[in-house]
Assembly symmetry: C2
Homo-oligomer: 243 residues x 2
């Protein structure tokens, strides 16, 4: 029987979603919890392969179990054996064809920046500490150039196993509550490091190191070397997957 | 020379503010950082003696150093040797008579409750997981009875070294953003466990286990046994100290 769960996790101590022998991964600990119920290895598919240190509030995972489980009971059984940094928020039966990764139609990520001279220790696990002034209106304006369907080659790693780097960004927004700045990106899919590289480039562009129109020119260039370093993993959270 | 610093800390791994031989405490690690600069032990006074697991965004500490330091340089020197969970947000010279604890005129605490069936791992260090429905309007109404000058004996521990349990609560508020509920308490001073016990009692009263008017009756009773358990330490943060 096919199941679908929504996972939330604090990625701080983990080497990302994807199973890696000898490293603590979310797929690894989730697989162990499933193996206890199933009495054997269970193949899992995650909607987003979050990198080391990246968090999730709405990762979606699909898998098969031989027994029939009611959603709330499956959720409780899994949470009872998962570490507290990883929680099943929802669990339900899915159609036999459901595949969390291939069926995903859209994803939303949040990126948090904490802008202050000294980093607040209550934000250090979940936000990039940025000590220089940032103008949220200019950030919002600069980000408009990214909305739409573009070749995002400039915002990913060069060696990539994907066929095309064309993606559609459907929504972009940024809001500020004192020192806490939150970016939101929604799209049909994202390349590796794409969100973090876009945040890094927007922040640099806004600081005035890069000239006006930079973001549009970066897109056109398709040159990974121009966009600068991706923002740190700790600020990124996979919020929602749409089907 | 007398100095005054504002500290922020994630209290999760610490046995509270106050120095305790053999336990990790905020006063302990802060004292070690000061000792490196001074070349010897430095007596420190914290405005609030936060308990084990309690956080701070605005703890104030006073101490003397033999050398003259400019505020920003002292701040940087201390942050360079403090663990990342403890940060000096501001540092400045203070008058020779300044005492962070005795001179405090008021304090503000925040208490966070995360109200959802399953706890979100991104909130677990900083909020009390409460799985049952909560009505924020009723919480706000029930809390009004606490505002003003009262004997808060019912909301503290019985064995207390303080002369009087009369305190003045100057402001109380509660706000909700989805599952994230935040209480704010301001007053001239707080008894040990007072904020956490008030939150515990308000939440229980709102759930309807305790009858209407309960909070006022608890105050009048001065009986510690009636108020129930204090809410967990992890939800509490010392936000601000006024002088």
């Amino acid at each position: 029987m096919k199941y679908r769960v929504t996972l939330a996790y604090d990625g701080t101590g983990y080497s990302g979603w994807q199973l890696q022998e000898g490293w603590p991964t979310i797929q690894g600990v989730f697989g162990e919890a499933l193996a206890k119920l199933e009495g054997g290895y269970v193949v899992t598919h995650g909607a987003g392969r979050t990198d080391a240190g990246v968090h999730a509030e709405g990762q979606v995972v699909s898998f098969r179990l031989s027994r029939e489980w009611e959603g709330p009971i499956l959720r409780r059984a899994l949470n009872a054996s998962l570490p507290f940094e990883v929680r099943v928020m929802e669990a339900e039966r899915a159609s036999e064809e459901f595949h969390a990764r291939y069926d995903a139609k859209g994803k939303t990520y949040r990126y948090r920046v904490y802008q202050a001279e000294v980093m607040n220790p209550l934000y250090v696990r979940y936000a990039w500490h940025y000590p220089y002034a940032l103008d949220v209106e200019r950030l919002a304006e600069a980000g408009q150039a990214l909305i739409g369907t573009h070749d995002f080659a400039a915002f990913t790693v060069t060696a990539s196993d994907v066929r095309t780097s064309v993606r559609t960004l459907t929504a972009f927004g940024v809001e500020r509550e004192g020192p806490d700045i939150r970016f939101h990106f929604s799209g049909n899919g994202f390349l590796r490091y794409q969100v973090r590289t876009m945040v890094g480039a927007l922040v640099e562009a806004t600081r005035g190191r890069l000239k006006a129109g930079t973001v549009a020119r970066l897109l056109e260039s398709r040159d990974r070397m121009l966009a600068g370093a991706p923002a740190p993993a700790r600020g990124l959270t996979l919020m929602k997957v749409e089907y």
